[in-house]
Structure formats: C-alpha cells, structure tokens
C-alpha cells in the first residue's frame, strides 16, 4: 500500500471587516477531495456558496435538521446558490467536503455539517449539476448583505494514493 501525507491547508481567510464575498480561486487540481472548514456570521442570516463563480440555477440540496427535540428534512431544487448557514449573532461552524472535485465526468457532490451554538444542527448533501472541475469556491452573503468580521474559512486539499 502506498502512503503519503496529505490534508494540506491550501488557504485560510479571516475577515477583519465586513466583506461581501470570500473567494478561493485558482484552486489547485492536484488533490482528490477538498474540505472547507469555517465559522461565519452574516448580517442577513443567509450565507450562500457557489462554485466557479456560477450563478446558474444548477444547485440543489437535501438536508436534515435537528435541535434536540425534533428532526426534519427538506430540499431545494434548481437554485442559484447552496445555502451554507448564516447568523448575525453567533458564528455558524461548518465543514464541507467536495468529493473528487477535479474530475470532469460526474456532477459534484458536496457533503456538509453545520452548527450554531444553542441552535439547530444541519447535515446536508448538495449537488452542483456540472461536470466541470471546481476551480473556485465563493462564499457570500445572499441579498447583498455582508459577511461579518471574524468569519474565517480554511480550504484543505486531500490527495489519495
């Protein structure tokens, strides 16, 4: 069996003021998966994510929520963004896995979990209906609001043997 160190930090961004968009661009195509780990606050309570700067209605998402008392599930279809959280009071921590992001054969599946302190937990699977390799990830405040100071995201690359 081959072995090699991986789970490599590619880039980290920490907002020192309010910003409209956090962009990871020119993502190297040398990994197998990407993992994006972050904590975000959003003045509009709605943070979205797009890939390759695409605003076409090619995003969809199946997710479930639970809060210690009850659980539910819902989905979005043919959307222009993937909802990835957002709260203007507490940071929402999240982990997103972009499986086989650089292949040009499959649509892109994104697995994620999200949590705000003392609030609902979310597990979700998103789809970007494109076979293009992912070269850019944008996290932005939907409806033109702002991502707030202290928001931080780190993008990691995982290379398989």
């Amino acid at each position: 069996m081959a072995a090699g160190s991986t789970y490599t930090p590619i880039a980290t961004y920490t907002a020192t003021g309010s910003v409209s968009t956090v962009t990871f661009s020119s993502i190297p195509q040398t990994y197998t998966d990407l993992v994006l780990i972050g904590a975000a606050k959003d003045s509009n309570n709605y943070t979205g994510m797009r890939v390759n700067n695409s605003s076409a209605a090619n995003y969809s998402r199946t997710y479930m929520t639970w809060n210690g008392t009850s659980a539910g599930s819902a989905r979005t279809t043919s959307d222009t963004t993937l909802y990835v959280g957002g709260n203007d009071t507490n940071f929402e921590v999240s982990i997103y896995n972009f499986q086989n992001y650089s292949n040009t054969t499959t649509y892109k599946t994104i697995l994620g979990t999200q949590k705000i302190a003392n609030a609902t937990s979310i597990a979700a699977v998103g789809l970007w209906r494109s076979t293009a390799a992912i070269t850019e990830i944008d996290i932005y405040s939907v409806s033109g609001a702002t991502i707030l100071t202290g928001t931080t995201f780190t993008l990691y690359g995982i290379a398989s043997a």
């Binding site: 069996m1 490599t8 968009t21 199946t62 649509y107 697995l111 995982i158 398989s160």
Partner: protein
C-alpha cells in the same frame, strides 16, 4: 490562490502539511464495474481511519444498498438519522447484523452523473480492547430527490481492523468513476 476583496493576502497560509493524515490506498472503479471494493493489509500504525469517496451502482433502480464489513467480522449494529427531503427519521438495529448496511446509494436509475458521497471514520480501529465505532456521513442529491444520513455503527468485535470491504447488496456492480480512498490519521 488569488486574494479576495476585503481579506488581507498576508492572512493566507498555504501548502503546509500537518503530516498526521496519510493516504493509504485508493480504489478507482474502471469501465467494467466492480463487485466489491476492498482494502486489505491495513497497517495498524494509525490511530483512526477515514474512508472518503463517491459510489454508484449499475442496479436498474434509482437506489441501491451497500454492505460494509471489516475483517471477517459478522456482527454489527447501526443507528442513523436520515433525511429524505421531506422528513427525518431515526432508525437502528441494535441486535447483530452481518454487515453495516446503508440503503440509499445511487443506482443506475438515478439521474446520470450523480454519485453518492461518503465520509466514513473508524475510530481506534487497532485497539484490541474495544468494539470498533464507525461514524459516517453519506448522501446524494439529484435535484428533486436524495437522501442524507448521519449514522454510527459498531463492529461487535475487539479485533483490530485489518481489512474493509464495500459491496453492493443486490448483486450489482459499482459503476465506473466510483472510487474510495482510505486514509490513516495519526494519534
């Protein structure tokens, strides 16, 4: 990487390997399909294992099931919280099963090019004093259908895990472009 508006380029940290997470082996399914994906001779030198990948089978329905087994262990339990886009439900099998079963990976009847994503953690896999805990996040979305599962499983054996096998449950084959990669996490 290109800096972004409002973010200082000096805050970028790049290409720093932590050396605590290592790729062990990868299986990429070729054009003929594959009935099982196995990792054997797994070294016992890590603290935890992680399996990551994408799966889809050639079953003629939109969904298929996959069985996960370790070594030759035949006793497992599972518990899961599952969402189907309309409601969430909890389920489990606390009595012994012969494998860890997951029932909603994409089959050939699903939307083309949609694969099921999976991240599976196996904790303390080499400790011979513990039954082994499996924890996995798995799901697919097909723009109007899909499932998401957050689940745990246990192999009811204290044996160190030295092999893992993933097999479709319905005599189907994993389709081309399915792939699983095994990683070791150091303690």
């Amino acid at each position: 990487m290109t800096p972004i508006l409002g973010i200082l380029a000096s805050q970028i940290s790049g290409h720093l390997s932590t050396n605590s997470y290592e790729s062990i082996a990868t299986v990429n399914v070729g054009s003929g399909g594959q009935s099982t994906i196995s990792f054997t001779s797994i070294p016992s030198t890590y603290k935890h294992l992680q399996v990551r990948g994408l799966l889809r089978t050639n079953r003629g329905l939109a969904y298929d099931s996959v069985n996960i087994t370790a070594n030759s262990i035949t006793s497992y339990s599972t518990h899961q919280l599952a969402g189907d886009g309309s409601s969430a439900s909890a389920a489990g099998a606390s009595s012994a099963q012969t494998s860890i079963q997951y029932n909603n990976i994409t089959g050939n009847g699903a939307t083309a090019s949609v694969f099921t994503g999976m991240v599976l953690d196996i904790l303390d896999y080499a400790d011979t004093n513990k039954n082994k805990t499996f924890r996995y996040l798995i799901g697919y979305d097909a723009n109007g259908s899909g499932y998401i599962n957050l689940a745990s499983g246990a192999s009811l054996s204290t044996a160190a895990i030295s092999s893992l096998t993933f097999a479709p449950q319905n005599s189907s084959l994993f389709q081309q472009y399915s792939h699983l990669a095994l990683y070791g996490v150091k303690g």
